[in-house]
Each structure stands twice: as structure tokens, then as C-alpha cells.
Symmetry: C2
Subunit: 250 residues, 2 copies
DNA sequence: CGACTTTTTGAGTCTAGTCAAAACATGTGG
DNA sequence: CCACATGTTTTGACTAGACTCAAAAAGTCG
């Protein structure tokens, strides 16, 4: 276990949340299924297996047989790949309602990245075969999924552009803004990113080294652009932005 | 016009190819529609507008209103984004049967990248509204599209990993292998990439400068890993691989 | 042939990586 | 509660890979 346990559980998973009584509500709120009728949700419900995962645990490994489609019911999950050099590359951080695993379901494929619980999580799993059946029965699900995946492709290409054309400083700024937009909570005139998120994670997200991230973050802190740390009682790690614009962070 | 016209048209678009008589056949071969019945294709046919584009011409610009879904019937199209710094980033090179434009159709979005004909092309276009209608009428189209987009997401993330963890040399090698896999033609014990493809293009594809690409390619040529040039009469530009494995190109 | 573009090569510089050590946290057991 | 072990972050000095600038060489086309 490389990550120390947080002093406070940000996303404490109350066992009751994943109990049967709440599942219909959670499933019905997922982007994939939100548009479906209550009866349809009830029919899908028994196909969904829920699974509690503790922070730091692997949900699956790159290369494993892709038997399930996964949906984050609660908590945060990170997707990463490990290069031959041993370098970890953080591809995405997922939270409530987002899918991961494989949508290229036809044919038994393998996972192309590793999924790790960033916080304690509740994960919903649907077998590839069952998801195929759902797609056949409710064609609109495929259209919603198409929307979600297309959006993700656009984001991934945005990252490709940033990796190709930004300096380390710009990439780190862009990554923080991305996180702020995704998991940030508005706080007066700044944004709080409440995540157990190390310099290593940020380095893996920006194609930089931890040392470089540390130096850049120190510079940002000096310029009063961000604050970070496990401050203010309850928060494990936070980044608070004051001005945006600066440093040409597109 | 930054690119000189090629002495030989690699993908000369015979006007007849895009004539009515051939359209049904072409449309029926697209991955999106391949599985449909002849009658379905015939019904879709009138919704498809074909459009000849000369090498170097812009098909649309980043930021334009996304009114159409595009499909490459013939030729090669490159997708790129231009960073604030002016740096071009080449995101993908598309060929026969591949889509481009926007699949996040619901709601009038804009194109997130610029599309330029790399060779003379024949492009099929379907308006967003018509494509929506097709998705409703033939739900399997959405599933096939889902498959295609998911695959593209996996590829994009592969590139993210490479940009994050590879040296310039490795990125260039990986890009060549990617091109070889996609548009390469087997040739005895090597692969021919028959494309009008400048050092600039390769630089934009790998997040390197033209100078670095030139130096690396010279080194590869020295080691007899690749040959390149407008040699052998008809070919405008070619990369021929002998050994693969080398240099840790994953 | 001569204008133009692309590619190659060279020299100098700088960003970010590497290696190493100190400072800081966090959690444990005496 | 303190001292220690473990892991993370910060700082510093050095290095190197890739960029910039500049000019020559090679190709392309009218």
C-alpha cells in the first residue's frame, strides 16, 4: 500500500448506500440509464453487481480479461497505464456516474489500463454479455454511451495537444484546471479540489517528474495561485485557485 | 498552399467513383453501415452528400459549427489542432471508411479540430439531424459507432502514454509503426507507407520539432531501419521498415 | 536555369530530468 | 508522549535531451 490512509474519509461509503434499497435510485441516475423508465431500471437492476473497494485497491489490471463494464456509484477511481520504463501515466480520474472498463464489448477483449480506487468506492459492475443485452433491449443506451465516449475522446485529444505543445508548467496548470472543472467545489472566489492527490499523481497526469511538479507547485504557491495541503481540519489535500488566467493556462 | 502538389496522385479521385452509381456500394462498405440491408442503404443514400476535395484543402476548421458528420470514401484526411503558440498538433490520419467530425451530435456543437485533405479525397457528409434520424431508425448503427469511437479512445490514450513517457526518438518510432499499421502496405520483408508526409507532419504527430525529426530519421536511415524519400518512380514519400523490434519501440 | 520550399547539419542554450540529501508528515510501538 | 521507521515533499547541483537560431544542401516546379 503506497498511499497512507487518509485521516478523514472524504467519501466514506456507508454500506447502506450500496444496499438493495438504494440501488434502483443510483442506477437510475447514471448517465447511461437516466433516461430509462422505472420498469426498465428494475429490469436492469438484477444484472448489476455492486462491489465496495477500499482506497488504494486495484479494481483490475491492464491486460486482464475484460469481463465487466464498471460504473462509479460513489468515490473516485483513477485509470493508469504503466510504461515499459516503469513510468506511471495517469489517464483519467473518474467519479460519480462515470463508466470505465471496456465499451468495445463485442468479442472478449482485455482492459487497456489499470483501475485503482483513489478513495473508498462503490463500484457497479455489469458483465459484457449483460451489457450487450441491455444495448439490444434499450437502443437509446447506446446513443447515450456514444455521447459519453465521444466526449471522452475529445478530452483525450485535448490532452494529446497539451502534452505536445505545452511546457511542464503549462501542463500542470492545465491539469489542475481540468481537475477543478471536474471534481472541484466552488468556494467563495476559489475552487477546492478535495482529493487524496499526491505530487506523484500530478506528475503521472502531466508527463513530468515529481520534482518538477513540486518546483512548479511551489512557484504557483509563491504567486498565490494555489494553496495545497492537508489543512483546515477535514481536508486531506486541496488546491484553491484565486486568479485563473495567469501563466497562459489555456 | 504549404504543400507542393505531388508529382503523382496517389489516390486520384476518379469523378465516376463518387457518382450515383457507385455510392450505394461505398456507403454499404462503411463500418457504420456495413451490417445494414440493401434497402436500408438505399434509404440512407439520399441523405448522404458527396464532396470532392483536393489535397491540401481544408474541409472544416476547429471552431466551425458542426453541421455534418463526415466519412472518408477515398483518400486520406488529417485532423489537427493549432495551439495558442502556433504549434500544429496532428491528432489523426484517416482513410477509407473512417468517420470524422462530431458524434456528440445531440445539441449543435462545434468541431474541436481542423480537417485537411492529405491527398485528393472523396468525402461523404451527413447532416447531424439526418444522422440522428438514422440512429433512431437503425439502432445497430449506434452500437457500431460506439465500437469505433471506443477504439479510437483507446488509441488516443495510447498516444497520451507515449507522449508522457517516451523520448523523441521513441515517439517518432512509435508514430511510424502506428502509420505502418494503419496505412502501411506489406512489401516483401518491409512495409511501405505511401503518403505525402513531410517531416513537419511527423513532428506535429510526435510533439517534436522538424529538426529533431530530421535528425532522428537520419539516424534511423543510418541504422538501416527505414528508408524515406520520393524514390522509385511513382512514390511520393515512403518509409520502409526492415527490422522492427529495435530501439525499444513498443 | 533560377526561385522557392523542404530537409539537413551545426552550434549554442535552456528546460526538465537525474541523482542525492535534507525537511516534513504520518503512523507505530515502547 | 516521544523516538523511530516509513513515505512524501522540497531543495540543490549537475546533466542531457531537445529546442532555437542560423545557414547550407537538396529537392521541386515554373
Amino acid at each position: 500500500m503506497t498511499r497512507p490512509k487518509s485521516p478523514v474519509r472524504l467519501d466514506w461509503v456507508d454500506p447502506a448506500v450500496c444496499s438493495l434499497e438504494y440501488r434502483l435510485k443510483i442506477i437510475g441516475r447514471l448517465p447511461f440509464f437516466r433516461h430509462l423508465s422505472a420498469e426498465a431500471i428494475a429490469k436492469i437492476n438484477p444484472l448489476v453487481h455492486d462491489h465496495d473497494v477500499r482506497a488504494g485497491e486495484r479494481i483490475y489490471f491492464e491486460g486482464d480479461d475484460a469481463k465487466f463494464l464498471h460504473l462509479v456509484a460513489m468515490g473516485k477511481v483513477k485509470l493508469l497505464r504503466v510504461a515499459a520504463s516503469g513510468r506511471e501515466v495517469l489517464l483519467d480520474i473518474l467519479h460519480g456516474g462515470e463508466y470505465f472498463g471496456v465499451l468495445t464489448a463485442l468479442g472478449g477483449r482485455i482492459y487497456t489500463e489499470t483501475a485503482i480506487a483513489q478513495t473508498d468506492c462503490c463500484i457497479l459492475q455489469i458483465s459484457s454479455a449483460d451489457f450487450e443485452a441491455i444495448l439490444s433491449e434499450y437502443p437509446d443506451v447506446a446513443r447515450h454511451a456514444l455521447e459519453v465516449v465521444s466526449q471522452r475522446l475529445v478530452e483525450s485529444r485535448e490532452i494529446v495537444q497539451q502534452l505536445s505543445s505545452f511546457t511542464a508548467e503549462q501542463r500542470i496548470a492545465a491539469a489542475l484546471l481540468r481537475l477543478a472543472g471536474k471534481v472541484g467545489e466552488a468556494r467563495d472566489d476559489n475552487v477546492l479540489i478535495q482529493l487524496p492527490f499526491s505530487r506523484q499523481d500530478l506528475a503521472a497526469m502531466t508527463g513530468a517528474t515529481t520534482e518538477t511538479v513540486s518546483r512548479v507547485m511551489s512557484r504557483f504557491a509563491e504567486e498565490k495561485l494555489v494553496k495545497s495541503g492537508a489543512q483546515v481540519g477535514d481536508d486531506r489535500e486541496r488546491e484553491a485557485f484565486e486568479t485563473s488566467g495567469g501563466k497562459g493556462c489555456s
